[in-house]
Symmetry: C2
Subunit: 252 residues, 2 copies
DNA sequence: GTGTTTATCGTCAGGAAGACGACTATGATC
DNA sequence: GATCATAGTCGTCTTCCTGACGATAAACAC
């Protein structure tokens, strides 16, 4: 078929972000309140249009910086540089997903260490970290007693897919360190796994496992007592990105 | 921001397909020859524009049917129904990836049993199954001595990503059965793993492993000698989609 | 000091996987 | 028909990993 601009329908292309972090032992996602219709006043995932001269990953990194100030790095993550991990998640293109027009959204997944309060165009009341289970439950009430409407558009599905990706990916990759500050203890890393998977892990077996996996953790020599109790060794993320053997998520 | 159609740039959205199969002990992909510029005469992945009222997965299934006649089913695959497995792979949106205009392509991965010769709009000379290593090598010569130009657009990258997805996914899912006919032997399944991974596997350990994984294989009661040698039991794919424990890809 | 908390080391039993021997049941060849 | 080649299937043995859990260590609160 020759080139004919009328031969294909025009689409709007957006990026939406599932930004995850661990706060107070819970897996949380960044949500922003919509200021305009459709779904005005409802919570949604941050995102925006891809610009004409931008790659998809560039657009995602730009949106991430606008919403959180984080500097992104790609899936082939180098050692911890205090930026966020960013990778493409999936693309959502149901013809009915946006009532205004045909929008295809390329969702991205970002993993970040615990951060100060989010900003959404400088307006803190319109952005927040919320536990993912709170965002995903239908028709419940939030921690502040406010009735929780479901997320706008198909963002509940996107969030669920992002959470599932994160849950499975920390099994066989060193991605869990993306939730930690640049230096962290084995216990802090264990609490990340416990928060993301929602299970309790044996501290002794976990310690043996992560310290025994080559390339996962590199000791810095320092220690800390910020968690209370006996001082713990500090580590930073090692060069390995794939864990062999993988961490095993307990059954059920 | 209020709804303003001029506020976002228009994109063309396409689906491209990585269709994989195993033929003659080699992992092969479906390639079609381009009939028009750009990249006229070069090999490319099959694909086409998403229609105005179509979901992305619908568009991918339609393209797959047009190129191969296969009926697709989704990632939550039911028991083997002789259709192809189809899942979304990733989305490619570099501003320069198509010289004509801004095109975002949602690549999909399809896995199919060995098939009769492909058809591309009824023209067999413009479609073929080619070993993936042949399609991915730069500047070599094909099996027929014809010089091999690289695949059109960024299709070499898409194909490489699809192959890597298939290689890793047969580790922890029962997807390898999507390469087999509805009834198959343990040896045939092993040859699928060997072709996709490009390694030799121990027949005895492989047999113990797959027959011992609950839900992976169910015996049909029949036997076959189509591979020569002692008759082998026939199986069909069981209900399990995730393998626990996973198959282990041997180290390099 | 005593108790609490967290970190870290060690032990032991059960299971999974790699290496590989042995046996079985076909078709092909002489 | 005997022999051989080819595949398939069952066992064994050793090694490694994991889960369960006891024990010790080093901080802080009182």
């Amino acid at each position: 078929m020759p080139y004919d601009p009328s031969a294909f329908p025009p689409f709007a292309v957006t990026v939406d972000l599932v930004v995850l972090t661990v706060r107070r032992h819970a897996l949380c996602a960044l949500a922003v309140r919509r200021g305009e219709p459709p779904f005005q006043g409802r919570w949604a995932l941050p995102g925006g249009f891809v610009r004409a001269d931008e790659d998809l990953s560039q657009a995602a990194a730009r949106e991430l910086a606008e919403e959180t100030g984080l500097c992104a790095h790609g899936p082939a993550a180098p050692a911890q540089d205090n930026g966020a991990h960013l990778e493409q998640l999936a693309t959502y293109g149901d013809p009915e997903r946006d009532p205004r027009m045909r929008v295809v959204s390329v969702a991205h997944l970002a993993l970040a260490p615990d951060l100060p309060a989010p900003r959404a165009g400088g307006d803190a009341s319109n952005a927040r970290w919320a536990p993912v289970e709170e965002l995903l439950q239908q028709g419940g009430y939030g921690r502040d007693g406010e009735p929780m409407a479901p997320l706008a558009f198909d963002h509940a599905q996107i969030l669920a897919d992002g959470v599932e990706r994160a849950r499975s990916k920390i099994e066989y990759s060193s991605l869990a360190t993306a939730f930690c500050p640049s230096e962290f203890t084995v216990g802090e890393l264990r609490r990340v796994y416990e928060a993301v998977w929602g299970v309790a892990l044996d501290p002794r077996n976990f310690h043996r496992k992560v310290t025994g996996t080559p390339g996962f953790l590199v000791p810095t020599g320092g220690t800390t007592t910020r968690q209370g109790g006996r001082p713990a060794q500090l580590f930073r993320a090692g060069g390995a990105t794939l864990l062999n053997p993988p961490m095993l998520r307990p059954e059920v």
